[in-house]
Symmetry: C2
Subunit: 302 residues, 2 copies
């Protein structure tokens, strides 16, 4: 068996993908404190906000203020989701150096989520990417519903490869292949990664799992075995709650670190400091964070 | 990479390891209904109770009544935990054909849990096994704290191999290597299984994981890659609650089935029927069951 990679990079998406799925409104100062704590914990990549319409995603309405207030560390990349050229302009004004685009592998999900066909979204994103690259920004592409769609069910892996290729063609440096509704199993992960590796450089593939059905860690493990070295996760499993409608938490950074630390795979991120950052935010969320590790620690402390 | 096994056997331990760790008292009729539903779902091995002291484990005090009331299916093995010769006598009277012994890889855990040194417990178990085998019973050995001990921390894998060998020497047909406190990571699983495979027949090794830190599924996956084909799990993740003191749930059968079904590994067990059995019991537990799959379904239904 091939050895696992000795080192991986975690992209911390809690402040964006996590918080945008929380019902509670988190004040700007708390968001900044969270991001700064996560950077202090050793994270080098943090998605800090989204320049989307505050009408559609009120949780991200203060992204300008977050970037303005943030004391940025030189060795940390703080990214923001950008849906279109208007969003890019806002990001540019905020001094953002890393943007992310949100594409989909499911036609229905694309229509419902961003109100565009996949083809139209890619055409528009190509324009955004071109402008961003000309301004020396780095561009990441999310590829949502890559392992299944809440509307369409199974997604043809060939389609995933196709959209991934299209994203790389427009100059993104990385595609985050995403299990948006947390339904992937490791067999799918292995099969899809082998298809992708035949078409695009695997070093440009990140994986983004949600732990809805408890399979996020095993999916990471299957991806590690295929040589993937970039994984998304959210502090505490932000964005999900076991007992809330639509429970769909991101893989918790703590849970990911517990496994990676055990496997001896270095990340540069300190688990205790991440845990402290999650715990500091928890009282404002109105529910316990779903991270299994946090729950185990809470139980032990009682 | 070696292909995964096409078929595995699940040992359903919810009615014993699960219920003995629940605070709520479950009446005998409900236990019988649970066991019969799990057998109807396709399970062929179910641990139905324990002939232990009702003073120490009141949840198992009605094991005689459970076995007396149970309509047994011919193709299902209903086992019971037996701590000593007195327990074996009770099991024999109850018409039990499959017993399980509970050994430990940690000296301190052994002392605290069964008030005996490992060596003394093995001596006593050898006597129990001999009597049971003479009566044509099948004997399983649990090996607890194989991946870590709440008192001692790390456990020497050589010690695990040693106790496993001792169990096989006394005639057990299977050793359930157990992560009692749910702290194993997949690197440990792979390493320990390779040591074990060099010493004992791997077909006799079952793995028993708790999902305390969310690693149970990935540990199963690592074990599948090594060729293990028997896994323990508990309906709904019985025996644990995310928000209760000592949260230490068994791997949920539903979560295990979600992954195995996805991987195309056959078990003969119907996930929907297991889910229905868990749901039927849930109101009596006083807390939601920790299975991620059950939680995802509950969220969807809201």
């Amino acid at each position: 068996m091939k050895p696992l990679p000795p080192q991986v990079t975690i992209v911390e998406v809690g402040p964006r993908d996590g918080l945008q799925n929380e019902a509670a409104a988190i004040d700007t100062a708390s968001k900044i404190a969270l991001i700064e704590s996560l950077a202090a914990a050793g994270h080098t990549r943090i998605e800090a906000g989204a320049f989307v319409s505050p009408k559609w995603v009120p949780q991200m309405a203060d992204t300008e203020a977050v970037f303005a207030g943030l004391r940025r560390k030189a060795d940390v990349r703080y990214s923001a989701l950008v849906p279109n050229l208007a969003g890019l302009e806002r990001a540019t004004k905020a001094g953002v150096t890393d943007i992310a685009l949100f594409a989909s592998a499911s036609e229905t999900f694309s229509q419902r989520n961003i109100n565009k066909s996949i083809a139209d979204s890619l055409k528009d994103y190509a324009e955004v990417a071109k402008t961003a690259l000309a301004a020396n920004m780095r561009v990441r592409g999310y590829l949502s519903t890559a392992f299944g769609c809440p509307f369409e069910g199974d997604i043809d892996p060939a389609r995933v490869v196709e959209v991934t290729e299209a994203l790389f063609e427009m100059g993104v440096e990385e595609v985050a292949v995403s299990d948006t509704i947390g339904m992937a199993h490791p067999g799918q992960v292995t099969a899809l990664l082998r298809l992708l590796a035949a078409a695009v450089p695997l070093r440009g593939i990140a994986l983004h799992f949600h732990d809805t059905r408890g399979t996020a860690l095993v999916n990471v493990y299957a991806a590690l075995e295929e040589g993937v070295v970039v994984f998304d996760s959210a502090a505490g499993g932000l964005g999900g709650c076991p007992y809330a409608p639509g429970a769909a938490g991101n893989l918790a950074t703590e849970d990911l670190l517990f496994m990676l630390d055990g496997l001896g795979i270095s990340t540069g991120v300190d688990r205790r400091q991440v845990t402290a950052a999650s715990r500091a935010l928890e009282p404002q969320l109105g529910h316990p964070l779903p991270s299994r590790l946090l729950q185990a620690e809470a139980a032990k402390a009682r």
